[in-house]
Amino acid sequence: MADANSRITFDEYILEAGNISVDCREAGSGLPIIFLETICWGHRYLYEALARQYHLFILSFEDAKEDGAEAAVRELAKSLAGDTYTLIGSSQGANLALRTVLRTPMEPEPAETLILIGPNAIRPDPDLRDLDWVGWSRRLLAHIERQSNLRDLPGGWELEGLFLPKDSDAELETWLREISCPTLVAFGTRDRMISPDTPSTYRAAIPNCHVSLVYDAGHLVAAERPEAVTSAVIDFVENRETFVVTRHGGVINP
C-alpha cells in the first residue's frame, strides 16, 4: 500500500473498444476497480485514496451517452480487471455504470460490487436545460465559494453535455430490481440535479442497496466532501453490505 501522504502517479493511455476510444488512467495494485468518470475535476482525493489500496482504472469517455458505451465498458473492464471487479461511476459515469450492469448480457453480472456516486439517470431535476456556466456551477456544487479551482470547470454548454442524462435512462428505473450485486448509491444532501425522492427510489428498487447521504454536499459529492465520500466508498469496497457495522474502537483510555 502506498504512503498515505504521497502523491499518486497515474499511467495514462488510450484504449479502443469497438468504435469507441477511451482515455484510461491506471495506478495502484490489488483488487481491481473500474471507475467511470464524467469529469476529473474534484476527484483527485478519492482517486488517490482508491489507488493507495486498490488497482484503479479510471475510464473517461468523451461521450458517456454514446451508443455502445456500456458494451465498451464491459469489454475493457474484462480485459483490464478479469472476471470480477468493483464498478464505480460518478454522475454521468454512474449512469453509464447502471447501463453497463443492466443493459448488457446478464450472465454473469459483470460487477462484484457496484457503487454509484450521484447518479442522475432516473428522476433528474426537470429544469436543467439552458443554464449558463454560473447556473451550472450552482447546480453542481452546494458551496461554490469553497472551491479554489472553480474556473477549471468546463464551459456551460460542455457541462450540459456532461451532466444531462441520456433520454432513455429514465427506463432504467424499471430495471433496477435486476441488480443482484451489493450496491452503494451516494448522494449529496444538497444535490440539485435530482428530485428529492430519488435516493429512496434506488433503495426501494435495488434488492441489496444502501443509500448514503453525504451531508452538505451538492451533486459533485467527491469534490465537496472528499473525505466523507472516500470513507463510505472504501468501507463499502472492503466490507460490502457489512459496512453498516462499526469497526472503529470507542475506548478513550485503556
Binding site: A204, H210, V211, L213, A232, V244
Partner: protein
C-alpha cells in the same frame, strides 16, 4: 395570540440553591423531588384547563430550577395528563444529543400525543456544552447538521446512511414516523443571525427567549425579511416568545413581591468558574483563550446566561398590554411563559395560572 405554559418542573426548594452551576446533587431530597414533579404536572393540567394552548418543555441540566434534563420524558408524562394542548419541545439541545435519538423521541411523542407535537431545537446556554463533553466551538455546526439529519430521519421513506462532519450513521430508519406529515411544526430557538437565517431559508418557525421587546423586534424584522426572500410568510404560531412572568392582582402587589426578593430580582443566574466561562465564551466566538495569560479571575465567577429578570410583571392589564407590544411590534403569535419564579410555592403558581387564565388569556386571544 396563544399562551404556552413552560413545564419547568422546578424543585420546590430551588430558592435555597447557590447561584453557581452545576447544583450539587447533595441538595436533592427524594421526597421533595417526587412532590415537585407531581406539582409541576398538576400545574400543566391546570394550565390546560385555564386555556393555555401549548405546554412547553425545555432541556436543562444539572440543576433543579428547570428539572427536565430529558424533556421528552417529561412531555410523555404530561401527554397522558393533558389531552388537548400542543406539546412544544422548546426544546432539545441538539449539539449535545444524538440527532437520531432525538428524531426517534419526536416520532414517539407525536404518536403518543396523537399528533400534538411541536418541535423546537436550539444550541443551549454556554454551561450546557460541558454536560456531554461537546466542544463549544463546534456547537453551531453540530446544530445545523443535527437539524438536517433529523429532518431527513423523519421524512425519508427508506433506510439510509449519513456521512456528516460530526455524525456518521450507517443505518438510519426511524420508527415511528410522525403522525403530522410530512413533519410536525418546527421552530428554531435562537437569536443568532445565522440560525435565524437557517429557519427562514428552511420554512421553520422562530423562538426567542427573554430578550426585551426592542431586541425581539430587531430579530423578527430580519426573520420576516429573510422569509420573504425565501418566498414564504410565517404564520402566527411560528413566532414564539419565551418570557418569565410574575402576575398579581395589582401592579403594586407585583412590585412589592419583586422588591421583597434578595437584590430586587429573581436569583436565576448561571455562574460558572470564571476561567471556565471565559474559555467557553471564547470558543463559541471562534477565538483562542490561553489560561496561562490570565492572572486571576473574579472570585464570584463570571455570569453566563443571566436572564433579564422578569419580562412580564404586574396586573393582568399591564401584562396584556406588554404582550400586545410583542404581538404588534414583533409578530409574536405564541407567548411561552415561565411562571415558576424562585421562592414561589406550588399554590402561588397555581393562583397565578388561574388569574392568567381568567384575566389575561381572553385579552391576548383578541390579538
Amino acid at each position: 395570540m396563544k399562551a404556552s405554559y413552560l413545564g419547568a418542573m422546578g424543585y420546590s426548594e430551588r430558592h435555597l440553591f447557590p447561584d453557581s452551576w452545576p447544583i450539587p446533587p447533595a441538595y436533592h431530597d427524594p421526597q421533595l423531588s417526587v412532590q415537585s414533579y407531581q406539582d409541576g404536572m398538576a400545574e400543566c393540567e391546570f394550565a390546560e384547563e385555564m386555556g393555555f394552548e401549548w405546554i412547553s418543555f425545555s432541556e436543562h441540566h444539572y440543576s433543579g430550577r428547570i428539572a427536565t434534563g430529558n424533556p421528552a420524558v417529561m412531555a410523555a408524562a404530561v401527554a397522558e395528563r393533558c389531552k388537548k394542548v400542543k406539546l412544544a419541545m422548546l426544546g432539545p439541545l441538539l449539539p449535545l444529543n444524538n440527532p437520531v435519538r432525538i428524531a426517534e423521541e419526536m416520532g414517539m411523542l407525536d404518536n403518543i400525543s396523537e399528533g400534538r407535537l411541536i418541535m423546537g431545537f436550539l444550541r443551549g446556554t454556554p454551561n450546557e456544552d460541558q454536560v456531554y463533553g461537546v466542544n463549544p466551538a463546534e456547537g453551531r455546526a453540530r446544530l445545523f447538521e443535527g437539524m438536517d439529519l433529523i429532518r431527513k430521519a423523519l421524512t425519508e421513506p427508506q433506510p439510509f446512511s449519513w456521512e456528516g462532519r460530526y455524525y456518521q450513521f450507517r443505518t438510519v430508519s426511524v420508527w415511528p414516523r410522525p403522525v403530522q406529515q410530512p413533519m410536525p411544526p418546527t421552530i428554531m430557538a435562537t437569536r443568532s443571525d445565522d440560525t435565524v437565517k437557517y429557519a427562514a431559508d428552511n420554512g421553520l418557525g422562530l423562538g426567542v427567549s427573554f430578550v426585551p421587546v426592542e431586541q425581539m423586534e430587531r430579530i423578527t424584522d430580519k426573520y420576516f425579511t429573510w422569509c420573504r426572500e425565501a418566498g414564504w410568510e410565517p404564520q402566527p404560531d411560528q413566532v414564539v416568545y419565551r418570557g418569565s412572568i410574575y402576575l398579581a392582582e395589582t401592579d403594586q402587589e407585583a412590585k412589592d413581591w419583586l422588591n421583597g426578593l434578595d437584590g430586587g430580582e429573581p436569583r436565576r443566574a448561571i455562574a460558572l468558574d470564571p476561567n471556565v466561562a471565559r474559555v467557553v465564551q471564547a470558543a463559541r466566538a471562534g477565538e483562542e483563550f490561553d489560561l496561562r495569560r490570565v492572572l486571576a479571575g473574579s472570585p464570584q465567577g463570571d455570569v453566563v446566561g443571566r436572564s433579564l429578570g422578569i419580562n412580564f410583571l404586574g396586573s393582568p392589564d399591564t401584562i396584556a398590554r406588554r404582550m400586545k407590544a410583542f404581538h404588534d411590534r414583533c409578530g409574536v403569535g405564541v407567548m411561552d411563559l415561565f411562571f415558576q419564579q424562585p421562592g414561589l410555592t406550588h399554590a402561588e403558581v397555581m393562583g397565578e395560572i388561574e388569574l392568567f387564565g381568567k384575566e389575561v388569556i381572553p385579552r391576548i386571544r383578541e390579538f
